[in-house]
């Protein structure tokens, strides 16, 4: 569910570059927040599995994207409320890990 690069990759890059400034601190903070969050996307994943069946995150998100292209989020769609709640939940969790200040 998370965007790339992962927190671990960001922190490793900062270390490899020998950087200690604010950007390096942000990389380490993302890694720490991801670690603390654990599998915070479990509920979102479960909702997607219930809809599409078991699969990797990539498969589940591809199916969701295809449904949205087909109108599943449009006004009047029976799935609109459930899917928009799911998208909000995924997005907010990504922000909690990447940039919690954005959520104010």
């Amino acid at each position: 569910m998370r965007d790339r690069p992962s927190g671990a990759e960001l922190a490793a890059l900062a270390e490899a570059l020998g950087e200690e400034g604010p950007l390096a601190a942000r990389c380490r903070a993302v890694q720490a927040r991801e670690h603390d969050a654990g599998d915070a996307f479990a509920a979102c994943r479960a909702a997607l599995v219930a809809r599409y069946g078991a699969g990797e995150d990539r498969f589940l998100l591809e199916r969701l994207a295809a449904d949205i292209r087909g109108g599943a989020l449009d006004d009047g769609s029976a799935d609109r409320e459930a899917l928009s709640a799911l998208l909000r939940a995924i997005t907010r969790q990504k922000l909690r890990e990447s940039n919690p200040d954005y959520l104010g």
Binding site: D3, R4, E9, L10, L13, C27, L61, L73, L95, Y102
Partner: protein
């Protein structure tokens, strides 16, 4: 341009040849400005020629990696950008005076051009941190309206041809970028669908900056010193520039100052309207703000790929990949799903 005496010598020789003067000092200093291109300030001491005396210039050159690859590469090359900036300067726009273009890659390794240094600050966060500045927002609104009113088409044939419909064209471009990404992006797909279904009637096309935002202009003593970074310029709907300026990422956290983080949007709008002689339609701006959120999402993916695929080991580029969620949050909010 690494700090390399050989490169410095070649650059000095180039400047001497093109200006007819002797370069007694070059003094290049890297500038932080620019997410894609690279910049150096040159504090020159020239003797003779057409720029005799002390000169403060900026060297603007291609970055280590481009934004996007192959047919999906974004932004114009230095030579057309130089020509555009020269046309804008001649038209009286607030831009740095372009001085010399160099397409010879043997000089510093990439094409570049030289222009006069503009005093002041261009860091977006610093400009916003200085507080509300209605006069600056009004100056920017007026400047943007003057840009949109320019009739330079005969001199700008090197730009990409005008699209038949700016929104449809931008939408098709962003769809290509999103589809080309390795990861699925459900919210980007939603934005594409929403934008296709809410497309406004086409407006007359004008010359647009393409990245008109806080961070891409220079402020000296609280006043507009000049507009920078013309590499995304092209023919588009004028509302695209207005919406981009007001888009959330360019407010740098000043959430109550929609116009670039420096003023309420009404201040910017009124100044634009005064010069342009037309009313801004909030519905159209809302549409283009959704487009702006999607465009920034797509650019963030491409910035990430400069790290992930093109080998530029930069924390800033890598972290930009994690800003996609900010764009997704904004898309949901603007389309009534937030």
């Amino acid at each position: 341009m690494p700090r390399d005496l050989t490169v410095d010598r070649k650059l000095a020789d180039f400047i001497a040849t093109r200006t007819g003067g002797e370069v007694r000092a070059l003094r290049p200093t890297p500038l932080l400005k620019g997410a894609v291109l690279r910049h150096w300030r040159l504090d020159l001491d020239l003797r003779g020629g057409r720029f005799n005396g002390s000169q403060c210039w900026v060297l603007r050159a291609d970055g280590a990696t481009p934004l996007g690859m192959g047919p999906l590469k974004i932004g114009m090359a230095r030579a057309p950008e130089f020509a555009l900036q020269r046309a804008l300067f001649a038209a009286g726009m607030a831009v740095a005076q372009p001085l010399v273009m160099c397409c010879d890659e043997s000089v510093i390794g990439v094409p570049f051009y030289l222009m006069r240094f503009l005093p002041g600050e261009s860091d977006g966060a610093a400009i916003v941190a200085a507080g509300r500045n209605d006069a600056l927002a009004a100056a920017l609104g007026g400047e943007l309206a003057r840009l949109h009113a320019l009739d330079l088409a005969p001199r700008l044939r090197f730009l990409l041809p005008p699209p038949a419909d700016a929104a449809a064209s931008r939408l098709a471009e962003l769809a290509r970028w999103i589809e080309a990404d390795d990861d699925p992006h459900p919210i980007a797909q939603w934005a594409l669908r929403w934008l296709a279904r809410h497309q406004p009637p086409p407006a007359p096309l004008v010359l647009c900056h393409g990245d008109f935002r806080t961070g891409n202009y220079r402020v000296a003593e609280g006043k507009l010193a000049g507009v920078l970074d013309w590499d995304f310029a092209g023919w588009s709907d004028p509302d695209e520039d207005i919406a981009w300026f007001c888009a959330k990422p360019w407010r740098f956290g000043a959430k109550d100052r929609d116009a670039g983080g420096i003023a309420p949007r009404e201040v910017f709008y009124r100044a634009y309207e005064m010069v342009a002689g037309r009313r801004i339609d909030p519905v159209r701006i809302h549409y283009w703000e959704v487009m702006a959120a999607l465009r920034w999402l797509a650019i963030a993916l491409k910035q990430r790929d400069r790290y992930a695929k093109q080998g530029e080991r930069s924390l800033d580029l890598a972290l930009t990949g994690r800003r996609v969620a900010e764009c997704e949050h904004e898309i949901l909010a603007l389309t009534g799903l937030g």
